[in-house]
Amino acid sequence: MSGLTRRGLAAGAATLAMPAIVRAQAPVLKVGLLLPKSGYLAQAGQSCHRGALVAPKVLADFGMRIEIMDVDFESNVDMARTQAERVINAGAHCIVGPFESGAALAIAQVTEQRKIPFVINIGAAPQITEQGYQYLVRNFPTGGQLVTNGLALIKDLLAATGAQPKTAVFVHANDTFGTAQRGAMDALYPRAGLPVELLDKIAYDPKAQDLSVEVTKIRALNPDVLLVVTRSADAIKLFRDMVRQRYTPKAIISPGSPGMYDEEFYQGLGPLADYAITNLPWANFNAPMTKALEAAYTPANPRYRFAAECFNAGFTFEALLVAADAHKRAGTTDGEALMKAVRATNLAEHVMTGGPITFDAKGQNPNIVSACVQNRNRTPTVVLPVAAATEKPVLPMPGWQGRS
């Protein structure tokens, strides 16, 4: 008689079934967080990362459990693709990131192939949600939405202040995001109905060591308004060269880009950072979840102000929230089921301005709105729309001299 018994068989079968049982329980969602923590986008990547680090604790308070698998793609698109593969092989159930549109397009190819949900925190290039990807959602406006909202807010700004600028020049970084914004400006500016003639569009390399030539070119055109799409490091160079070359526009406005609200920008320019305006989605400081995020963020990052970091930290937190909420509803980490839950997201309670987080057939959240944020005393301050404003807008901006 062999030693095989019914009890032994049952134990064996249970052992064989263990992985399936473990997978079905899936108590924690493993999120591969891909951000550019080094390289030329490191400042923004680390800012997003600070928001992500406090997310597990805040989400746990809301009954959601996640585990972050941290990955740096070094501001390199090829690296983003290989790191996405690596983190999925290491067990990530979904991907969140990557702050940069070019990297988002590279990661999307991997997640689509591996059938793993990809929740984009920040990345505005329109083509991301135009290529029919099934495993991708974006909780961030497209470049077109950003520019449309941004230009509408410029109109409101002129009406609110009575300023009457006549001319403008559009200056933009020539990376994926900047080029997409340029495309949106080309299409939307003529239809925006702004009473400001666009004299020229100037593209620059965001990795350039100085922007003196760019500023000389702007100075030659002498526009009343400078419309900019920048990152923080190049925005600092742009401002310094404007001061050195004694060129003071009446307004410096971003129709939707990072750069002029970053802590690095305030540190680098001091009072010269004031009065610059950025039109983009912002944190809703009245929302309970924003308050919970701020309460967790501030003690964890004593060197950084949530007021200046809320854009990067907020959108990254929301992307993690989307993944965690979908996991809670799906009750599984299976890619297909998880993605189905992600697409069915309807989160009324969240951090950034706008309606509930939902996704259309392309995976785009259509409910995000922008605010007009002006730097005042080195703090990003909402000045429009009036309902959300904490101060009135100042236009034309004061000259460079005599600021303190």
Partner: protein, 289 residues
């Protein structure tokens, strides 16, 4: 567009190019004598930028003044590096030298990231935003000072190699290594001195660059690439060529940015490089091999 604006752009290009020239001089010195290509060149420049930032923020020392001690520190670092790390690789296959110095570059840039983080570190000098208006030309004071010091230092380095006994001995090593060894020159010591001088140039350039651009580890790769373009245009191993190459790149980028799109500045640098390689492969002031 006026002639005045164009003149201003050319002057800006010359000033920036002089600082680039000093930075590339270090690369040219090291390659010209030791025949080792320093792939960590830009990283050392950024290290010097951070040293200048620390000197300014901790002790209030102007980077132009700090350039001297930073340069001395870089000399010691270069001397030690050549003596104990690079020396065994001299004469070995080029790819081995490349891997060694690329490794040094990676270590340096990641140490800087760990130590200072990714944020750009500005040196907010009291005169950083000052400028002089001479007719239609606006001269940025920080850049003007940096360019003048770079010009003076380059002259000093060229003078050292031409008129001092040690400089002559180093040139002898570069011209005929075997002959130099036969007449009793301590080649290892001279190589270490050369690497030290090369890094001292980079150190001084880095300290001055921080008055133009904020210190950030991200800059390193671009500096290395730019250094190579400059020395290839000027002529590998030619000290005056490095200065000329720097000025040509500075002016070429400034004019291309002003007359076409600024985002195409680098394209014109590479076009200049291709033209020089096609028409005069040894560089503008380089010697035929």
């Amino acid at each position: 567009m006026t002639a005045g604006l164009l003149l201003g752009v050319v002057v800006q290009g010359v000033m920036t190019g002089l600082v680039y020239g000093l930075m590339a001089l270090g690369l040219s010195v090291i390659f010209g004598v030791i025949r080792v290509v320093n792939f960590a060149h830009g990283e050392f420049a950024v290290l010097a930028m951070y040293a200048a930032w620390v000197a300014f923020t901790q002790w209030g020392v102007d980077p132009i003044v700090a350039a001297l001690p930073i340069s001395a520190g870089c000399f010691v670092l270069g001397f030690g590096l050549q003596r104990w790390l690079v020396s065994p690789f001299v004469g070995r296959a080029e790819h081995e030298q490349f891997i060694l110095l690329a490794g040094v570059a990676m270590v340096l840039v990641n140490l800087l990231l760990m130590g200072f983080g990714p944020d750009a570190r500005p040196v907010n000098l009291p005169y950083a935003l000052d400028s002089y208006e001479i007719g239609p030309v606006i001269l940025d004071k920080a850049r003007l000072v940096a360019a003048a010091v770079a010009f003076g230092l380059t002259g000093g380095v060229i003078g050292f190699f031409r008129f001092t006994r040690t400089g002559t001995a180093i040139r002898a090593c570069a011209d005929n290594l075997l002959g130099a060894a036969v007449v009793g020159l301590d080649v290892k010591q001279l190589y270490a001195l050369t690497f030290g001088i090369g890094l001292a140039c980079v150190g001084a350039a880095g300290a001055m660059l921080v008055t133009i651009s904020d210190a950030s580890p991200v800059l390193a790769h671009g500096f290395t690439l730019q250094g190579f373009i400059i020395v290839i245009i000027g002529g590998l191993g030619s000290l005056a060529g490095a200065l000329l190459g720097g000025v040509l790149i500075g002016v070429c980028e400034a004019l291309a940015g002003f007359l076409w799109q600024p985002s195409m500045k680098s394209l014109f640098s590479f076009l200049l490089l291709v033209a020089v390689l096609a028409l005069r492969p040894q560089g503008l002031l380089g010697k035929r091999p």
